[in-house]
Subunit: 457 residues, 2 copies
């Protein structure tokens, strides 16, 4: 492999060489040739020391641009490789909302150390933003927006816009807000309408009065709803007194929604405590995964202990041991389908946590159909294998009954967890499989015990 | 419960009454008071007949607005309740991209019936758009955009914009594209810069020449990458000859990404063949879930058949039957964590499908640590319960070895599936659990067979 093809398939080798040679301009040029995902992948392959040197080699603005291209957790990981003072210089170049997000992703003591050396005003603002829940309007808003008094003319407004072009380059300027002196929001102007507005017209003439706005504690669901209903690119956020404090952009809301979906997937798969990337330390990864597994093994032991009570039955009909794991696994599968549908419907707002009865009836009918089909299939296998129709009945019957239980429970558990303020994606799976394992073993073994004479013929 | 509070908690009761009374204006007013998610939830509670009557009671534009508020699958469901001609009138009011998306979500014959009665040009365009893969630039683009020749003045452009204000209201007008007569893309102008451009300036003076553009077959990942790197609100799509054919908006790309994430979650949970909403018919839901479950029960039976080979060992050490489901379930859990991390890293572009070796080494180290811890825990329980240290060694050893296998396989399976063009989210779980069940039963029972004299003391 030549050096050039290596640079293409493993760009981090070239990056490491450039960093080691302190060749800042060549580094910047090379990074520009990489796509965002190539950049992310390359950074993840560098050692922490090289990562730190890389950040320092770049100008703060270049470093901030690099962080934008990375995934959140990766950016947080990277910024921890430089001193708080160096980090503060880079963070200074970011937007208010990205700044607060990045700081929230850091360990508490790391974030505090950086906040202490940041510009006082910036640090104060970041602290305030960090206090809002991450998925609230306050947590998602950016504090850079245009606000003008209504008695300005269009001419004066356009002049200001042109003069401050550079400063406004990071602003969301799709909208201009019209405020009173104390920043109370009274109207909004879309940039588009300014194109043909007479230059001597007062801003308040063309504005839409009393625009839709949200409070800082508005939830992600509220925001999704608003953006679904209206064609806006951004919605202003106001405090209790009606003063504008920020703007939430449509794009940011979508991003947060995407984050929540992938989060559900990870949590349901037992990846807890935040995203896991393979560039993270082995111990952190092993510990996080274990924290979830060790709860699960406890629950598993509890469920399987039912089997111990029926050892005599099992000893008489040893073939049952083949079917116990199948019943446990299949019930888990059926139940998890219902869990996924409930979590999805909750996310889409198609179901409310109190609609237990509706979900129960919608699921029990599926449980009966699918339970009957699966029970029949498994029962038939048992009958053919052992030549005993009663074994088929016991095994198939247990799977059928347990499928019904699993499907109903699977549908309801996320609703109940949500109602009690717990995260359905995280806890539904372990709760479900514990109960369905326990019930499945109980049904199979108690049915077998009741019909023992027929099975041991 | 009074009628008013009922209308609040169950708005569909009021909707149904208004539809039955043919009270169109009251219906429109009432729908406007509902949030998007309340609307979606309410529609899902109406019978198909009422749903059809509701759509017909609204003006086509109102009906199109209603469809926008709904979730994709739900909108497709709803439009099937009216005749193709009525559907075509509603679809006529939508944007080109939403039109194609809705038609793609319908059953083939339903879509064909509607296309046949649509405006010829519209139908032709929709057919073309439907040919692009859904997650490609062509599938995501909208064909409404502004294009002007470069020798127009700013004045003339603004005049056109103001005259056609209504027609352009659905357009993405953040950018204006400068094209040659044959639509070849030569430049782009941001609306923002037009604010302060001299009115008599030619458009080509202020444009950015040779703007970034993508081909219609560019993938969602390509688009995510581009939007990550650049601050654009939209990217033009061009054909092979460089003629502009549409624009992909940042927001639409985010939406598609969100869709993919929730899709992974559903597929990994065994919800296949598209989203399942509880408003769908029982038979469709049962059949779709069963299609996945019946493959799984087959795989489960294959895996559990290993147990049948070791019936004698099991009969001698019946306590083993308690541990088999635990080993199977725990290995599945450990493996699924690795699956989730791989799917996520693939999505983020942090790993490429050929990087088998890297993933193997990253996972085997976790497998050894977590396998040792979990094996020790389960071994200890077995030892304490039966007072036999060898049983502890057999059970704990089997879980440890199988955890290592499960974690490595879980990490690799998604990469291999992706490499062969299969969907990792869909197939990884069943593949993984089949192999790990099989191995888990084999390890536990073969270890036990080898040490049988020590276990039966």
């Amino acid at each position: 492999m030549t050096v050039e093809t290596e640079a293409l398939s493993q760009p981090w080798i070239k990056i490491e060489a450039l960093v080691t040679n302190d060749d800042a301009s060549a580094l910047v040029n090379f990074l520009e040739t990489l796509s965002a995902s190539e950049t992310a992948r390359s950074i993840s392959r560098l050692s922490p020391t090289i990562q730190g040197q890389l950040l320092l080699l770049l100008e703060p603005q270049e470093a901030a641009d690099l962080l934008y291209e990375l995934h959140e957790e990766q950016a947080a990981d990277l910024i921890e490789e430089v001193t708080p003072r160096e980090a503060a210089a880079i963070i200074h170049e970011m937007n208010s909302d990205d700044r607060a997000d990045l700081l929230s992703d850091l360990e508490q003591n790391e974030a505090d150390a950086i906040l202490q050396v940041m510009d006082l005003e910036e640090a104060e603002e970041a602290r305030q933003l960090m206090e809002y829940p991450k998925d609230s309007a306050g947590g998602l808003m950016m504090t850079e927006f245009l606000a003008f008094p209504g008695n300005h003319t269009v001419e004066k407004f356009l002049e200001d816009l042109q003069i401050n072009r550079d400063r406004y380059s990071d602003f969301d300027v799709q909208y201009t807000f019209i405020t009173l002196e104390d920043k109370t929001l009274v109207g909004v102007l879309s940039l588009r309408n300014m194109l043909w507005a007479p230059r001597n017209q007062l801003l308040e003439k063309g504005m839409i009065a009393n625009p839709i706005a949200v409070g800082a504690m508005a939830s992600l669901d509220d925001l999704i709803n608003l953006f679904d209903e209206h064609d806006f690119l951004g919605i202003p956020v106001v405090d209790e007194a009606g003063r504008i404090i920020g703007i939430v952009q449509r794009d940011v809301v979508r991003e947060a929604t995407e984050h929540r979906s992938s989060d559900s997937f990870l949590k349901a798969s037992g990846i807890v405590g935040g995203e896991e990337l393979r560039s993270m330390s082995l111990w952190l990864r092993a510990r996080r995964r274990l924290s979830w597994l060790s709860i699960n093994i406890g629950l598993n032991i509890v469920a399987a202990s039912v089997i111990a009570f029926y050892q005599d039955t099992l000893a008489s009909v040893i073939a049952l041991a083949v079917f116990l794991p199948i019943i446990s696994d299949m019930s888990g599968c059926s139940g998890n389908q219902a869990v996924a549908v409930s979590i999805r419907e909750l996310t889409l707002g198609l179901i409310k946590p109190f609609e237990i009865v509706r979900v129960f009836f919608k699921e029990i009918s599926i449980g009966i159909i699918n339970g009957a089909v699966l029970g029949f299939m498994l029962g038939l296998v048992a009958f053919i294998w052992q030549g005993n129709p009663y074994l088929g009945l016991v095994v198939g019957g247990a799977l059928m009954v347990n499928t019904i239980v699993a499907v109903c429970l699977g549908g309801l558990i996320p609703l109940v967890l949500q109602r009690f303020g717990k995260d359905p994606a995280l806890a539904s799976g372990p709760l479900l499989t514990t109960v369905t394992d326990l019930c499945g073993f109980f049904f199979a073994l108690s049915f077998a015990t009741l019909s023992l004479p027929l099975l041991t013929n």
